[in-house]
């Protein structure tokens, strides 16, 4: 029987798994505590290359957004949506994601509370208005 080798998950795969539970995975530099969202190999403040992973609540407030009318491939099945940049409440980092059901600016004033709810194969980081915080 051949040995099955389990591959270690990539940081991006870990990010996706966290997003499916409504959380955001962030890297924190072990030397200067700088928080960096993206897959990183070197800290952009001190150039250290050792990080620990920190998981934050995926809740935040809308910083800016656009409502897409001409959409890229893979998004034709969505009636209407916004691509949103939001600032996370717990750590102040900005993240961007896909918020379905937005068809006019009146639906989404800047500062609206939103939260991460899933990571979708075709639509990426899925967001929802955080009704409990409104």
């Amino acid at each position: 029987m051949s040995k099955v080798q389990t591959q270690k998950q990539s940081s991006r795969e870990q990010f996706i798994d966290c997003a499916k539970t409504g959380k955001i995975l962030v890297n924190q530099c072990k030397k200067c505590d700088n928080l960096i969202l993206e897959t990183v190999y070197f800290c952009d403040k001190c150039f250290n290359n050792s990080f620990k992973q920190v998981i934050f609540n995926g809740k935040g407030k809308v910083v800016t957004y656009t409502i897409q009318s001409v959409v890229p491939e893979g998004f034709e099945d969505v009636a209407s949506y916004a691509w949103v940049v939001f600032k996370m409440d717990e750590c102040g980092l900005n993240v961007s994601g896909f918020l379905p059901g937005i068809s006019s600016p009146a639906d989404l004033p800047l500062g609206t509370p939103i939260k991460v709810i899933d990571f979708h194969d075709k639509h990426g980081l899925v967001l929802k208005k955080d009704e409990n915080s409104l």
């Binding site: 991006r12 656009t66 009318s69 001409v70 959409v71 890229p72 893979g74 691509w83």
Partner: protein
Amino acid sequence: MREKVCVLGAGSTKYGKLNESIVEIALNASKDAIDSAGITPRDIKAGYISNVFGVTDKQVHMAPVIMSNLGIPDVPGLTIESACGSGSIMFREAYANIAAGFYDCVIALGVEKITHTGTVESTTLFSYCSDFFYEGGNGASFPGLFGSMARAYLATYKSSEEDLAKIAVKNHENGFFNPKAHIKKKITIDDVLNSPVVASPLKLYDCCPFSDGASAVILCNEEFAKKSGKPYLEVIGSGRGASPAAVQSRKDITTIPSTIDAAQQAYKMANLSPKDIDFAEVHDCFTIAELIDIEDLGFFPKGSGAQAVREGRTTLRGDIPVNPSGGLKSKGHPIGATGVGQVVEVFEQFTNKAGERTVKDAKIALTHNFGATGASAAVHIFKKME
């Protein structure tokens, strides 16, 4: 000690929907540039090519194909990609190699062919130039990314969608006088405001078109230029800048840091300031981009660009004419070629070939071009040689 770098010749195809193959489009512009400089291909010691989506016309690794078809297969070439900034960033590399003394004469050629793919495929392909995992992959198109920047700008500074529309109207006015422009059509503010929404708040006429086209220039050192006996320009300033790749990672979404850095380097090298610039060709992929550019380049203080636009200060007869060619908005945006096309405009302006769009008494010009949402940028300053 740097060699002085000169632009000796320039050529461009029409921008628009072109039937020829990408290689033919590239060669047409190259031939015009070579003829304009009064040289033969044998004078060219290296080829610098910029292109992004050659794969859609089944041609990548473009440089050796171009050099072979120019009759100089033994002359080295390289192909550079930096999304919409490919042309100027390639130009900078060509400039640097002349300045360093590696070559006395090179061709810098940008080319793109994309209209054969259709709107959905083009929109999708362009989204790959974003930080895809956070942007394109979450449904953001390029109009969408700039739409989000527009929303942030309009919410922060005293400005309106009508101010953005004025920029589109101005660039179409200028492009109407450009025989090579993709969209030679005058428009009104109402045309812009009533056009279909592409990615709010940006509408169709806030957005540049997808274009095919190529532009090429011949760069050389001063000795080569003087020996030629032909009119030439001098490149007196060059700067490169970079910004975080994703919009979400920028401290201020209403500014593009790469533009500021590139411009400061170019001004310092030229020993000039923004007020010394007689006209500028800037990166107006979307109307909001031009509004941000004219502030980031130092022509107007941050947040006051909209007022300057309302006062007509960036029109052809204004204090600082911006995009006399018609800009990306009207002239068109073949993304691999645009940065070089801006240099072609400067060459035409300074050699009395710009016709009714000529900026009177201009002696110093600036070109500005960036990739994606400004992740990479280059600024160059040119001087007319009397």
